[in-house]
Symmetry: C2
């Protein structure tokens, strides 16, 4: 059933090497042989085996795309962009779903077994140790949406979460809010910690401000709703909240409306991510957008560079955020 190099060679009346070379860009083949081979290949419907060529060249054109985030709608867009970017470069994504119950070591082992050219870890919640382990196992790796650190072990592409916190704080202050809440994601997440740090930093520069801190148990709608319910039940609210994610903000928004509070009339809300639903008429959430397309383009570019040139120095790329103003904060002053 499958047509091999040998079949084409016989049909074209040339050696196997000649066939191989016609399909290897930059190899030395005369125009005559090339056309004979191409014709034979076309007639037979020949497609070179990526497995075999991967085996002998050591490059498989496979990119391991690892994520543990299959709940936040923003990641559908992330996967869309990643798969396209990877495909456009002539590579293919081998997807790894690293959910709670899967063993990270097993995942690394399997990425090695398939000898992927590089690994892209796409997650802000996955421990940096995972990427580091990939690297230790000899896999070129880049961590997209990873945390910026002083001395990163692997290349990181993402945003500056501390700056994100500052940016949110500035947005709230500029709109005259003074009694301000932080409604973060899980308290243990580094994204939460970093954003909180920036948030505090900026508020600290405005003496008259009050800051209250609270955390949703996960990055999810329901956790956001639950935490806002708790806040409502436990006394007067802040004037505005910076939420750790749009889904959290939307959960909070739903609860506020249900409780008869006007947003932004009574309470202001600003989210993070600019997921599609943030722009829905039912939502119109003011939020901070991270440049997904750029993060992904850079990540893929680096992954490829790294696979070709493994000893490239480790870099860190932090891309700029944008405030997207919609309807959940009162107008600026």
């Amino acid at each position: 059933m499958t047509v091999t190099l040998k079949d084409v060679a016989e049909r074209a009346g040339v050696s196997r090497s000649a066939v191989s070379r016609t399909f290897t860009p930059g190899a030395s083949v005369s125009a005559k042989t090339r056309s004979k081979v191409e014709q034979a290949a076309a007639e037979l419907g020949y497609a070179p085996s990526a497995l075999a060529s991967g085996l002998s060249t050591g490059r498989t054109k496979l990119i391991g795309l690892v994520s543990n985030n299959f709940r936040n709608p923003i990641f559908l867009e992330v996967f869309d962009l990643f798969t396209r970017a990877i495909q456009d470069r002539g590579l293919r994504p081998l997807l790894v779903n690293l959910s709670e119950d899967t063993d990270p070591e097993a995942a690394i082992r399997m990425l090695r077994q398939y000898s992927v050219d590089a690994v892209i870890v796409a997650s802000s919640t996955l421990s940096p140790a995972f990427a580091a382990n990939c690297k230790a196992a000899g896999l070129p790796v880049v961590h997209a949406f990873g945390r910026a650190t002083r001395r990163p072990e692997v290349p990181v592409v993402g945003i500056d979460n501390v700056e994100a916190g500052r940016m949110a704080a500035r947005a709230l202050l500029a709109r005259g809010y003074r009694d301000i809440g932080f409604l973060g994601g899980p308290a243990g997440a580094t994204t939460t910690q970093d954003r909180l740090a920036g948030f505090r930093q900026e508020l600290a520069r405005h003496p008259g401000c009050r800051l209250r801190e609270s955390f949703a148990s996960t990055y999810s709608h329901d956790a956001g709703a639950a935490e806002m319910s708790r806040l409502i039940d436990s006394g007067p609210l802040a004037e505005a909240y910076f939420c750790g994610d749009d889904v959290i903000a939307i959960g909070a928004l739903g609860v506020l409306r249900k409780a008869g509070r006007e947003v932004p009339g009574d309470v202001g809300l600003i989210g993070f991510n600019d997921m599609e639903a943030a722009s829905w008429d039912l939502v119109t959430l003011t939020t901070i957008r991270q440049p997904l397309d750029e993060i992904i383009a850079v990540s893929v570019g680096q992954a490829i560079a790294l696979s070709e040139q493994p000893e490239t120095p480790v870099t860190q790329t932090l891309l700029p955020l944008t405030l997207i103003e919609r309807g959940t904060l009162r107008p600026g002053m």
Copy 2:
């Protein structure tokens, strides 16, 4: 850097075949050699190359997962379930994003090059010709979310869209709606056509009913919003609408609220899919759920069966729908 069979063999003082056999379940190896080999393998950190073994056995444990739907949030859950189901069976998903500008033939060629064990097409909007072409190219294929037809060319797993239409109609009728609207997805989509057919069928059994038909240009929030705006502008609305998808329904809902119409007070709305946002407090959309988990479990099961036993007769599996009652239809009578 990479440890091979040979290295392990030398270290263990046995032949390469012996090593291969210890890693091949069911092969004949004495306990003594096995333990020698296992120890040597562990010491060296040996992981057998999936490429090489795929090359010689003809099975790669790779499943091509093809989709063109990277916009509808429901598909994030689809990908989550698929990747887990595939991984749990010891296989890995090779993801193919078949968006508008990618060539389906190229995709098939590449799936052949990597000699995937089977292909799963996950899309309700992709032409059945694609799956048929896979099959013609010798790739075992199953079409998840595909259309039920009289004589399917490839195995299909999904739902009965005609029945979905009937179900929606029955739900509306049972709640006393008589002037009823169909707000489908793209008029050309088979899902739209089938659901409309079922919808008409059921309404036809109730003489006093009026049916109005309209279509959103795509399966998206904005298209739903746009179409509902048009309806509002062009005269009195129906009492309730069956929308082709939750995102369309949510778009419509947003426009209705903005126009000051109460839902379900003035207008009823029922969606399709039960995406996560349908359950948000801001939305509480009554909708019809398709059993994603079952569809996916069956699809993966069939794909594997097919890869092991290519001549299995072509079957069609249609799974049952569930009405999820929330807050956008008035209570039943």
